[in-house]
Amino acid sequence: MTPAKPAGTLISTAANTWCPGCGNFSIQHMMKSAIAELSEEEGIPIENFVLLGGIGCHGKLVDYLNVNSLYGIHGRSIPAATGIRLANPDLKVICHVGDGDIYAEGLDHLIFAAKRNSDITVVVHDNRVYGLTTGQYTPTSPTGFRGRSTPGGITEHPMNPLEVMLAAGATYIARGYTGKIRHLKDLFKEAIMHRGFSFVDVLQICATYFNLTDYYNAHTYELQEGDVETGGFESAFGKIREWDYDRDAPIALGTFYSVKKPIYEEHFPVFAAGRVDRRALVRKVVDGRR
């Protein structure tokens, strides 16, 4: 095992192209710190972390960290993450996805990964707007949002992704905010160490197209002991529905739900690589058909 690296060396040499003031910086640096700290505290080698990125501003994060990465395609990080985890149970697999990326393009994968309790972590950079394609509405944009594709304002209501995840069977559900970075880092660490499907929706500032800094600062609060019973579906459900991503309401940050269930990957046998003579097995199967 390599010794844990100081967090600073996890920043890659790739030139950063996010807008000044972008919420992605907070997520990048808190993920970097979470990985470095977990490596030190839990003895997880840095090479056992794998990051996946979708397409959108969020995806650039995987270029900016010196960690294994699969920089994939729009909305499709999650099935690839499950594949990676299936191939190597020692890996900590973390999907960085966007709200357009995973709530629109890849929603099926998100729901199914939660349903099967795949042992991966999904961090949603939820800025509630398409940034890289220059300002269209996403599944979490509030009603009336005027984007470049909907200049008259959208008439549909946003989805509450936490509610979707609870219904789908996610075993860890949390919400963070890029304006509260220490809290965010702790959520990342908790999510990564959760055995099973862990989901963190991060309310992220988009400095250019949808800057909700003042709104979030005014409405968010951190969940305290006793605010929610994280092992109880009904309790979590109630707290998750306190804010619906649309109407004005207090916005809770923290862990809403955390339960233990068997994980998807443990139902598959692990074969020692290269140790099985599968050609002999093929012969046996063919001979069995004579």
Binding site: D63, L70, A87, F112, P269, R279, L281, V282, V285, V286
Partner: protein, 552 residues
């Protein structure tokens, strides 16, 4: 050639496919080689299903129109097949459902009632009657039933088979052939076993005819073969899971048909750009769109050759029988890893769900190929430039290697770039892999021929039409040329093979001549197209007549 054709027909749900395989078992035990065509509509109960089992004393892979014995569970199974019945055909029908039909009538409902046997055992009565008509001994009949029927149902099946046997009389005698009894497998099964031979560790698929049975077969034998078999939510997830497995070092393959492959194309392009190995079994069926789901076609050649945005190398092979499906599936998987490219095994319903005698002993496997792996020295760069275009692979979780794999244009280390020089170098690297692959394939039998050069007539075909062409061409005195590898196209081998080809016909199961178009693109003359696009494969006699017109 000694040969027999048997048709068994009835409704869906009556176990026609299984009964067909039992009939194949009778002839296999006498040393015959088998081909079985199974025809069924896209429904679960009712309709009309039939199987034609052809047995011969040499290798075959196609059916003929006329049959020697017709086993009919209902009147449709006779009326729909009038053209197959001739003076020498023995018809055996279920007298309780097709009363008044010609031939022997088996009172199946009475037999089943008296023997207290379930309806499905009616197949065993037909099997027994066939054995008697064909002069096949009761010991062989019993052996077939013992190997195909679960223990607890065996006594009822044996009793019913005996009743069928006793209800008819001997008409002809199938003489044993001095050859080993070979197992009868489908193209799907041979492809699956070939993938495992090539190193498969995980198979991922969403059900779609005609490759659903490959998923079922590997899932049923996952433990026997020490593989994982995964059925996720859709074909997009299928290929992405396979790419995730491969990124982390596990050899994976997927299977689908045209509609599912449509969904996989963005993953295919990702595999091309990110250089992640993946092998795809693409079973064709007639389109456009849902088309005729349970029938056959060769209509997706150009789709698989050009699917996915951008320009990247791919390996495409179209096996024509079990031996080719087995050896080339293994090779396709190994090539995908050696060159870090997508490999596509292009089959169709005829091959995928057709059953053939399989002689694994007679196979000559292609050489084993190993992927190029990181040697462990120095800082790892996922896309390090090399002469061959192939960069050494490393997998996450290995000390000292940070593996950065990228769908964007990227530099050597795997970081996103838009630099014009780096972008051009990356594209050149991808294309160099294609050239290296083509050079390696020069040593492989990428183009196969049957019959003597200088025949003055050449029949070109690909995929499952191979055996109908071999037989038809033999009768006409023509030579057959079969390109197996379709990408990268084996230009040199094709040129060599076609010297002195004479009159040329190109046989395909499509309406526009897709191989002919590919040959023209490569600068070759494909001759006259002989096309069939009704969802059914050519029967040997049918093809012979069509070719006779072309070569007249």
């Amino acid at each position: 050639m000694a040969e027999y054709s048997i048709l068994i027909g009835g409704k869906a749900g009556e176990g026609i496919n299984t009964a067909g395989l039992s009939i194949a078992g009778l002839f296999s035990r006498l040393g015959y080689r088998i081909y079985m065509y199974f025809d069924y509509p896209s429904l679960i109960r009712g309709g009309h299903n039939f199987a034609i089992i052809r047995a011969a004393d040499r290798a075959i892979g196609a059916h003929r129109t006329p049959v020697d014995v017709l086993l009919a569970f209902d009147r449709n199974s006779i009326e729909n097949h009038r053209e197959r019945i001739h003076d020498g055909t023995t018809v055996i029908h279920d007298a309780s459902r097709a009363a008044g039909s010609e031939g022997y009538g088996l009172p199946l409902s009475t037999i089943l009632k008296e023997e207290e046997a379930p309806p499905i055992t009616g197949n065993s009565a037909m099997l027994g009657a066939l054995a008697r008509v064909a002069g096949i001994g009761e010991d062989i009949l019993e052996d077939v039933l013992r190997s195909s029927v679960p223990e607890k149902h065996l006594p009822a099946n044996l009793r019913v088979a005996r009743r069928g046997y006793d209800a008819v009389e001997g008409v002809f005698t199938v003489e044993p052939v001095d050859a080993p009894a070979l197992p009868v497998l489908t193209g799907n099964e041979a492809a699956g076993l070939g993938l495992v031979h090539g190193g498969l560790e995980s198979y991922v698929a969403y059900p779609m005819t005609p490759t659903s049975n490959l998923l079922h077969y590997l899932a049923g034998h996952a433990e026997d073969l020490a593989i994982k078999v995964i059925h996720p939510e859709n074909e997009i997830s299928v290929i992405l899971m396979a790419l995730g497995l491969a990124y982390a070092g596990e050899r994976a393959a997927v299977g689908t048909s045209g509609g599912g492959f449509c969904l996989m194309t963005e993953g295919l392009s990702l595999a091309g750009m990110a250089e992640i190995p993946v092998t795809i079994v693409m079973g064709q069926r007639p389109g456009p769109s849902t088309g005729i789901p349970t029938y056959t076609s060769q209509t997706d050649l150009h789709f698989v050759l050009s699917a996915g945005q951008g320009e990247f190398p791919r390996f495409v092979v179209a096996p024509g029988d079990l031996e080719e499906a087995y050896t080339w599936s293994a090779t396709a998987l190994m090539l995908s890893w050696k060159y870090q490219i997508p490999s596509i095994i292009l089959t169709d319903k005829t091959l995928a769900e057709g059953a053939y005698s399989f002689d694994i002993e007679a196979l000559t496997p292609h050489p084993d190929l190993e992927p190029v792996l990181r040697d462990g020295a120095g800082e790892y760069r996922r896309y390090a430039p090399t002469e061959s275009g192939v960069s050494p692979l490393a997998f996450p979780g290995r000390e000292g290697a940070v593996v950065k794999t990228n769908s964007y244009a990227h530099d050597e280390a795997g970081f996103t770039t838009e630099d014009p020089v780096v972008v051009r170098e990356l594209q050149d690297k991808l294309l160099r892999k294609g050239e290296s692959l083509a050079a390696e394939l020069a040593a492989y039998p990428t183009v196969k021929t049957y019959g003597a050069r200088g025949a003055g007539m050449t029949v070109i075909c690909w995929g499952s039409e191979k055996w109908a062409c071999i037989e038809a061409a033999e009768n006409l005195g023509a030579r057959v040329v079969q390109p197996l590898v379709l990408s990268p196209f084996p230009v040199h081998a094709w040129n060599e093979t076609m010297i002195g080809a004479g009159d040329v016909a190109c046989v395909e199961n499509n309406a526009t001549g897709q191989l002919a178009r590919l040959l023209r693109e490569q600068g070759f003359d494909p001759g006259r197209s002989v096309l069939k696009y009704d969802g059914r494969p050519f029967a040997v006699d049918e093809l012979e007549a069509r070719l006779g017109e072309v070569f007249a």
